[in-house]
Amino acid sequence: MVRGVYIHIPFCHQICNYCDFNKFFFQNQPVDEYIEALGQEMVLWADDLKNASVETIFIGGGTPTSLSVKQLERLLALIHTHIPMDSLVEFTSEANPDELTLEKMQLMRKFGVNRLSMGVQTFDQELLQVLGRTHSNDHVYKVIEYAKQTNFPSISIDLMYGLPNQTMDQWKASLKEAFRLNIPHISAYSLLVEPKTIFYNLLSKGKLTLPGEDLEAEMYSYLMDEMKRNGYAQYEISNFAYKGIESKHNLLYWDNDEYIGLGAGAHGYVNSVRYSNHGPLKKYMHTIEVDEKPIMMQKEVSQVEKMEEEMFLGLRKNEGVSLARFEQRYGQALQGVYGKEIDELLEKELVSIENNFIKLTKRGRFVGNEVFQYFLTS
């Protein structure tokens, strides 16, 4: 059953050097029309939305805060009109620190947004420039101040490590600053250089120096230790939070639950079908104009694939995969399906089984992809 909705805002005033999401320069784009199309897309999904129990909504991008106050208000109003809110517990918007104004934050609060996810990435001014980010630390401090004024229940920041020329000391300093600010939720991602990004082009020309696997591993190790020391619980490979502040929307993905994805290039998972929307704005909007869902590609997930995904998504969580829930969902005992693989992983001490959950060991967390591959059997 659908438990969440993801809404994609593919506009940015500045494109980051590492970003490979579906995004466009804000200028000269049909932003108003796009928002209307989003509303129409919600109408096309009306039946599924009616039957859903929408517990989380996540507005991501691109940058949702690239919208003007008026555009943001229209978007939030459309959400309220078309998406049932009675089960809603978490409503997140991504945000760029330099684009958040008090007015926009007040507006978000008015429409029930209760969680901000801010792309801070680093507190090091030089590295911010390397990444192509336009904000400064002052913007972050200001937003934290506004959040107090507007009573924002939850703030999260994204941090990145493994950045070009980043040193261990720079990483330590960024974390220290995050702890000093008492941010309740922190996502820490290692940089992945993807094709079709500025970083990718620089790297292939030999003009980008990355810290390398070993230093990156050290940074990850330091991250986990420091988070623990500062009172954060790790609940997923890259996510840390004070108890009870975990992102329910993120967990929905790792729990292998269903969600509707709306917007250009968005992904969704509904009635056992994973789909992705058209990325180009014209194609996306034209398809909606003729009353069709703007789906570019869809694929029904087989029972075997579902079990695989249950494993490689679920094992990302610190609590791991529940043996009981697996059996309940798929009608087979987990060890009956993956007995051989699990034995091997237990032997290598990459996973452990405790209290009826299978989870990654600390070592396993460093080499998660190696572990996940064991469960790709089809």
Partner: protein
């Protein structure tokens, strides 16, 4: 046809090959001749028509022989029948060259107008002269800015001793000089001699297995006539068959009611095994047999050996089938079952040379879809044991313990290297490093030199070609012939991964180079083997003694951090890709080893890196 008609036709037949160095334009010239004789319409014309195997067209080399019948109306108004027999240019395939030359009366010698004669061409010209062929020199690529036809003609005269005064100046690419070449073929290449009414003597120069027709035997008729329905007899085995079809290639297989003296074509006779028609054998008629067979060929023995193992052990039987099928059309290929502790079940295969080895390996992977691990190539060592017994060792891991060895002899080749004068120093330096003994050096012209060295074959097999190419900027050409065995101070170097000996990585090395090479190889392996889930020591050992070591680190971090905005399919793809990459590797003990690592020993001698 009656006897007189056959004789009249025979006078109009011209059989010839083209001899050329790779890249000197042989295939292009063949294409032009086919066009000019309108054997193929331009619509059918596909560049490099004679090279029909995909691999041949991609690599620009000819592997298997082709024989095409063409008709040419000469300036004298008469119509002539040409048979063009294609020959491989590479040194590995000397055997096949000698086969095709035996089916001809003439050969076109194509020499690049800028580059001059190359070592391999020279070797093939000598083969042609041994076969008493009329040789027509053609100076090709005269339209290139660097062309110097007069210098090259002088080289032909001085180096080979041919009269080059009437050599055609041509550009196969631009279509210059083609007609002149065709006229010279008519004038200078002798018509076949032989009696069409005499007992049949047909030389088998190649054969091919076709699943529907059985063996297709490529023949040149020397004496007599053969037609469908005839009972034929293989002169070496005495086996008899009934001819089903006779025909020629135009270049498509085209049926003919008979083949007679001078014809180069094919016959089928419901033969189930290629072994029934061994290349070099003579076919005669069962009812009216010839008394004497034609001189056959010397069978070439494989010089280079390596292990071929399926990455997926369950493909072992498929690999055997693939080798058997390839063997049908490649008499030089040899193989026998072999077991490696590290790699499981596979085959020890013998090849004519490195290129031959690469081609077979590539064909198995492409045509039979079997992913392979190839062990580093080895030569055959003659090992005299302290017990007095002498054994042959073609697999380094089978080399007996040092204590049991009295002496080891290894094959040596005479290498001739033609190179512009400026590179003499680098060539000599390379040969010296490859344990070569300098024999002599001749000036071919003021600026070109032929250097002769005796070098252990194993050094050639390793990376000599590549090293020569890079140290002479590609200007050197190279040929070699086996000259026999010489004693050398050799030792077996074992490689241990994670403290376990990997037999497939053992190699034989000269004692004086052992320590240095041990150091290089452990570093190479460290670079080639990806990080594993645990630390892996890499050691090189002679007997019990470790001479070098390095360590492959364990994986520091491999976990996808990003969320990808709920794009789970992308996560799956990434994991699948990583998993797929592992399938190309062989599990040796607990270590995943990629194919390249087994060839690391070939890359040891890279002084500049």
């Amino acid at each position: 046809m009656n006897h007189e008609e056959r004789l009249a036709r025979q006078k109009k037949i011209r059989n010839f090959s083209i001899i050329a160095h790779i890249d000197h334009g042989k295939s292009t010239l063949a294409d032009r001749i086919l066009e000019k004789t309108q054997t193929v319409t331009s619509r059918e014309m596909q560049s490099q028509l004679l090279d029909s195997m995909d691999l041949e067209r991609e690599r620009g080399i000819t592997i298997k022989l082709n024989a095409v019948q063409l008709t040419y109306t000469a300036k004298d108004g008469e119509e002539y029948i040409f048979h063009l027999i294609d020959t491989p240019g590479h040194v590995d395939f000397t055997y096949e060259v000698s086969r095709s030359l035996a089916a001809c009366e003439g050969a076109i010698l194509v020499v690049d107008a800028a580059q001059g004669i190359e070592a391999q061409t020279l070797a093939n010209v000598y083969l042609a002269l041994d076969n008493d062929l009329e040789i027509l020199p053609v100076i090709n690529k005269i339209d290139l800015p660097a062309a110097d036809p007069e210098r090259v003609k002088k080289e032909v005269e001085e180096v080979i001793g041919l009269d080059a005064s009437e050599a055609v100046h041509a550009s196969a690419k631009a279509g210059i000089g083609i007609e002149e070449i065709l006229e010279q073929i008519v004038e200078k290449v002798p018509a076949p001699v032989g009696d069409p009414s005499a007992p049949l003597k047909a030389l088998i120069f190649d054969s091919l297995f076709d699943p529907y027709r059985g063996v297709i035997v490529y023949i040149r008729i020397m004496e007599g006539t053969v037609k469908p329905g005839d009972k034929i007899k293989m002169m070496s085995s005495g086996k008899e068959f009934e001819v089903v079809e006779t025909g020629v290639f135009t270049p498509k297989a085209t049926m003919r009611s008979e083949l007679t003296v001078g014809d180069v074509g094919f016959l089928t006779a419901s033969m189930k095994h290629v072994g029934d028609s061994s290349v070099g054998d003579t076919i005669t008629l069962a009812s009216n047999p010839a008394t004497e067979a034609l001189p056959g060929y010397r069978k070439m023995n494989p010089m280079v050996f390596c292990g071929l193992y399926p990455i997926d052990n369950s493909k072992y039987v498929d690999l055997r089938d693939a080798l058997e099928k390839l063997e049908l059309n490649d008499s030089a290929l040899e193989f026998e079952p072999e077991t490696s502790q590290a790699l499981g079940f596979g085959y020890r295969c013998g090849f004519l040379g490195l290129l031959h080895m690469e081609i077979i390996q590539e064909r198995i992977e492409r045509e039979f879809k079997i992913d392979l691990i190839t062990t580093a190539p080895s030569v055959i060592y003659d090992v005299k044991l302290t017990s007095g017994e002498t054994i042959k060792v073609d697999n380094p891991s089978m080399m007996p313990e040092v204590q049991k060895v009295d002496k080891i002899e290894e094959p040596y080749v005479k290498a001739s290297i033609m190179v512009p004068e400026d590179y003499v120093g680098s060539v000599m330096e390379l040969c010296q490093r490859k344990r070569g003994n300098f024999i002599t050096m001749d000036y071919l012209s003021a600026a070109r030199v032929n250097i002769i060295y005796e070098i252990p074959l194993s050094e050639i097999v390793y990376d000599f070609f590549d090293a020569l190419k890079s140290s002479t900027k590609g200007y050197a050409s190279f040929d070699y012939e086996l000259i026999g065995y010489k004693e050398s101070k050799l030792v077996k170097m074992d490689i241990l991964l994670n403290s376990e000996k990997v037999d497939a990585l053992s190699f034989i090395v000269h004692k004086d180079f052992a320590y240095e090479r041990g150091k290089v190889i452990v570093e190479k392996l460290k670079a080639l083997i990806p990080r594993q889930q645990f630390e892996v020591p890499v050691q090189a050992a002679i007997g019990q003694k470790i001479v070098a070591r390095s360590t492959i680190k364990s994986i520091g971090k491999n976990v996808l951090a990003k969320c990808y905005g709920g794009d789970i399919s992308r996560k799956r793809k990434l994991l699948e890709k990583q998993k797929e990459g592992k399938k190309r590797m062989k599990q040796v003990g607990s270590v995943e080893v990629p194919q390249e690592a087994f060839m690391a020993v070939l890359k040891m001698d890279e002084p500049n890196k």
